[in-house]
Symmetry: C2
Subunit: 222 residues, 2 copies
């Protein structure tokens, strides 16, 4: 029998990415710009949630958005129409963002003029969870129609996030989604996560979420 | 309305990866080592197919295997027990291999002593299709239990492969898998692809596949 050699490839890649992510965090701290990374499945409502967040906070914070979710520029144009500084990263169907991609987005923005930047990551519950984008906080959306079993199927995503937004709560009465069972599954993976139940359609819970976001941004930018 | 800036991030990443992949192909050509990249869903039978291929060709070619599919070293140990040079890349659940990861594997092998190296890529029908690993030929497995609709759902994977191995043909009589419908869907995406119907369990079709592989390796290594 031949000898088997073992080579750690993930560690090497991750340590490169982590170095870029750390330098982005330093830069954001110096520039006093709070960066959040918003992740979810396709169709969970990232863009609508961002638009609601802009409506709620744009008189209080100067906000920019880095869009990576789709091939077209539709989402970035919607965001720009709401008066936010928008950058579209054309990822051509790539499965995730890493820190060097986010760096390219930040390089094209005037950080000195922005208090908060929201990254709309690629719609995917697996790969984006693997990469530190340099964001100060990670936020995910789980929408009610996706089902309450998602924490069991995608544990890494729920483990790396600081906030879970349970979106499309207006569908709850049509659904067998069990909020308590979902909460228990999520807390088993991540005891520190903040959970907000929201609906971008009805506005339910948006104020609680934006209150949290404003507080975190204020404490980061000082 | 703010102006939207558009930044091509995928192109930049892909052009870096493509440069590494090109340099690997040059190196393989100089070293006279034929490299194939084997991709599939988890459980489609990559390891069993590799073992069958080793049995069939190991008296004719000096063969090495780069294993990336799993966290443990089980697959690499099975391969080594069959007398092949085996390297295990520990990818820790990473979603794909890129050319620089494969380069790390090749660096640890003695290419001058090997005619053929088989990469067992991460079990995933999406992300691995995005990255040129430096392999001279791309080969995928679709197993009968996965269904004949997979070309519709994962078109990129079927488009980038030179060979499709339809595995677990011994399940066909239990299944509603329509071979003709599958072939038509595949050829609509990729007119040049070679299709072999095989079963690692019964040995059906393995000779046709290894005959093709031996011919391609011979014409590459001269």
């Amino acid at each position: 029998m031949e000898e088997v050699r073992l080579i750690e490839v993930k560690e090497a890649i991750m340590s490169d990415n982590d170095a870029v992510a750390r330098s982005l965090k330093d830069r954001l701290s110096k520039e006093k710009t709070f960066l959040i990374n918003l992740m979810s499945s396709p169709g969970a409502g990232k863009t609508s949630l961002i638009l609601k967040t802009l409506e709620s906070l744009q008189n209080e914070l100067r906000i920019g958005v880095i869009e990576a979710d789709i091939d077209s520029m539709v989402d970035a144009e919607k965001v720009a129409a709401h008066g936010a500084a928008a950058v579209q990263l054309r990822t051509g169907g790539f499965c995730h963002l890493d820190a060097s991609m986010v760096e390219k987005g930040l390089d094209s923005m005037d950080l000195g003029e922005l208090d908060l930047i929201i990254i709309e990551n690629v719609g995917n519950l697996v790969c984006p969870a693997e990469f530190d984008t340099g964001a100060i906080k990670n936020v995910m959306i789980l929408s009610v129609p996706e089902g309450d079993d998602k924490p069991l199927k995608y544990p890494l995503m729920f483990s790396v996030c600081d906030v879970l937004l349970v979106n499309k709560m207006d569908y709850l009465h049509l659904s067998d989604f069990n909020v308590e069972a979902m909460r228990e599954r999520v807390f088993n993976l991540n005891r520190k996560i903040e959970i907000f139940e929201v609906s971008s359609k009805t506005g339910e819970g948006i104020e609680a979420w934006t209150h949290w976001l404003k507080g975190e941004a204020a404490s980061f930018i000082g």
